[in-house]
């Protein structure tokens, strides 16, 4: 506003040329610093999000968080994992199933040939080579060193290309204004979101809410842990039992594995 005050009538006359030049220099300088600021500021935010773990406890590739889901133990009609996720992250819907977000869902499978029926929870598979990260134009979709795939809500532009690319339909677009959000699960209209593996819990040595709920019901169909640690319960079970990746043909090396499918 200070600059604009100098643009009085006559400001462009020859006698005022030097003051106009100085105005122009200041104006261009202001524009340049604003543009530079806009470029840098989101980077600062991104940096802080990318290192969300407490200081001195940096995210490293030494850990690969993963999950094993035993479909034989997954009870038909039970959706405790889904409810726990919704509660944990404040995923209240608008009773509009086509546009309401779902980070984890129960899927029922019936074999076309034999009629055998089973159910399983489907969530972000936290791929080692995630197609959503590949296609994201701004880098908002990213994979932490420890294998957790997240969306940086600050630089997501809402193009939804990640949703087109995800083979698991794991992502939701926020279709309307949200209220009463959880501080550790920021969500925003016009951006894309998905299962975070409860990164806020995992970073504090807790298990994801869905796993906790499944265990609390004594179903024990979900095991969470470090795939890189041979002594973890997850690694032990993965080694002992045959497990499968959904759409293993894509060779994405998913962090979520299934038994019994």
């Amino acid at each position: 506003m200070t600059n604009s005050r100098q643009l009085q009538p006559g400001a462009l006359s020859m006698s005022n040329k030097s003051s106009f030049d100085s105005y122009r220099r200041r104006f261009l300088g202001g524009v340049a610093s604003t543009v530079a600021g806009m470029g840098v500021a989101p980077g600062v935010v991104l940096h802080s999000v990318g290192h969300a773990k407490p200081a001195g406890d940096a995210v490293t590739g030494d850990v690969r968080w993963g999950m094993l889901i035993d479909t034989n133990k997954c009870a038909a009609g039970c959706d405790d994992c889904v409810k726990a996720c919704d509660d944990e992250h404040g995923l209240t819907g608008f009773d509009r199933p086509e546009t309401d977000a779902q980070w984890i869902r129960k899927v029922t499978l019936k074999d076309k040939q034999t009629g055998h029926t089973q159910t399983l929870p489907l969530l972000c598979q936290h791929c080692e080579k995630p197609p959503c990260v590949d296609v994201c134009p701004t880098g908002a979709s990213f994979r932490r060193e420890d294998g957790i795939v997240l969306v940086d809500k600050h630089i997501c532009i809402g193009c939804r290309y990640c949703m087109m690319a995800c083979p698991y339909k794991a992502r939701s677009f926020v279709h309307e204004t949200l209220q009463d959000q959880k501080p550790f699960a920021p969500r925003g209209k016009g951006t894309v979101e998905s299962c975070t593996f409860c990164v806020h819990r995992v970073d504090n040595d807790r298990t994801p809410a869905c796993v906790e709920a499944c265990t609390a019901e004594n179903h024990n169909a979900m095991v969470f842990g470090d795939m890189n640690d041979p002594d973890s319960e997850l690694s032990r079970q993965l080694k002992k039992y045959n497990s499968r990746q959904i759409r293993a043909d894509l060779e994405l090396n998913t962090g979520v594995r299934y038994r019994g499918i």
Partner: protein, 402 residues
């Protein structure tokens, strides 16, 4: 053809009336975008199942047509066909304006269009989308320089070089647009290298159809002569392009029909897809390809301006239908996560995804088309894009190779 042979179109009342009329659609499009952003996308037909809707049909159509509209200029500058030279400027102008219209739709449909600056400052170079941002902006710059070389006498000697760069750029650009879908390994209808060249040939056809209509309209309304020689050349070329698109469509479906795992999606599009099947067979194939081919090559209708115009319009309608089938039909068919299983869930897994275009989406799409037309109209008013005459005796066929 000399510089003096080009003139701006007349201003005055009819010009402003037409511009105002088109401007109303632009305003309506902006209003629709504001409504969608204000309320969120739930007010549209789009959902977590149909992620890209009608705005993308219009946007991708315009972006594809934009690169195709440049063909007429390329034929003149790169391939040395002198009869097309007078048309090269309009061809370049349409390439830019159609792209602007398409990009405007794409940006206004973003969940966060206010973050355009983020899209301009953060890049993930593994994303074909990120590459496309460079390709689109670069294309406008390259074509603008190309136009400058054509329109500034001192620069004319660089026309061929600039035209060559623009031609290569447009091929890469449409490869990028087709690859947005071609690179999507997750979905049955996409995940094909064929989509990139198919989009290129589609661009030839859609771009030329728009070019012919704009040319005929602007010469009729500005009372300038447009001879049969140039128009018949263009319509014959359009026929070749329509045939080429058909060829790619046939090869795409034949390949899928040979691959057992693709039978589901083919059965959906070709037989049981309801609106998508009807759009494919009736609008894309019959009305948008076979009928215009017949009209353009029939000895009597092929010499009628009215029928040439109708054939061009049909190509555009067919092209929009083709985009609708590719973009929305491709998403309506469910992801194949568990082969051999019937899949159900509260998130619509395993079923055909429902979608109906909403008024705001259509208004935004039409608004983008209107923006392209308005920009073209202003362009031919303020700069010398159009030759005073395209009568037969003005067309230089001397440089033709027999």
């Amino acid at each position: 053809m000399k510089q003096d042979d080009f003139r701006e179109i007349e201003g005055g009342r009819p010009f402003y009336l037409l511009l105002g009329f088109i401007g109303l659609f632009v305003l309506a499009g902006l209003g629709a975008a504001w409504y969608m952003e204000h309320h969120g996308h739930w007010v549209t037909g789009m959902s977590n199942q149909i992620i890209w809707g009608t705005p993308h049909v219009f946007a991708v159509f315009l972006i594809v047509a934009a690169s195709g509209a440049l063909n007429v200029a390329s034929i003149s500058s790169v391939f040395g066909k002198t009869p097309y030279k007078p048309l090269a400027r309009l061809s370049g102008l349409l390439a830019i304006t159609l792209l602007v219209g398409g990009l405007a739709i794409l940006v206004l449909d973003l969940g966060r269009p206010d973050r355009l600056i983020v899209a301009m400052t953060y890049y993930n170079f593994k994303s074909i989308f990120a590459w496309n941002i460079f390709l689109y902006i670069g294309f406008m710059g390259v074509v603008a320089i190309y136009l400058w070389m054509m329109m500034e006498r001192k620069m004319n000697r660089f026309t061929k070089s600039a035209g060559f760069v623009a031609f290569i750029w447009r091929l890469i650009l449409t490869t990028g647009t087709g690859s947005i879908f071609g690179f999507l390994v997750a979905r049955q209808a996409y995940d094909s290298a064929l989509l990139a060249p198919m989009f290129i040939i589609m661009s030839f056809s859609f771009g030329l159809a728009i070019f012919i209509l704009v040319l005929m309209a602007s010469y009729k309304w500005s009372n300038r002569p447009l001879g049969d020689v140039i128009l018949f050349r263009l319509k014959n070329l359009l026929g070749v392009f329509i045939g080429a698109v058909l060829y790619f469509v046939v090869v795409y479906h034949l390949t899928n029909l040979y691959i057992t795992e693709q039978h589901g999606v083919e059965r959906f599009i070709l037989l049981e897809g309801g609106v998508y099947t009807r759009l494919f067979w009736v609008v894309q194939i019959l009305l948008g390809s076979l009928l215009p081919l017949a009209l353009l090559y029939n000895p009597s209708t092929g010499k009628s301006r009215g029928w040439i115009g109708i054939a061009s319009l049909l190509v555009i309608v067919g092209g929009l239908a083709q985009m609708y089938v590719i973009i929305i039909g491709g998403q309506a068919y469910p992801l194949e996560l568990f082969p051999g299983k019937e899949v159900t869930s509260s998130f619509f897994d395993g079923g055909i995804n429902a979608y109906a275009p909403s008024l705001p989406e259509i208004t935004l799409g039409v608004g983008g088309v209107a923006l392209a037309l308005a920009a073209t109209l202003v362009g031919v008013r303020v700069l010398r894009f159009l030759p005073v005459s395209l009568a037969d005796d003005q067309i230089d066929q001397s440089g033709e190779v027999a």
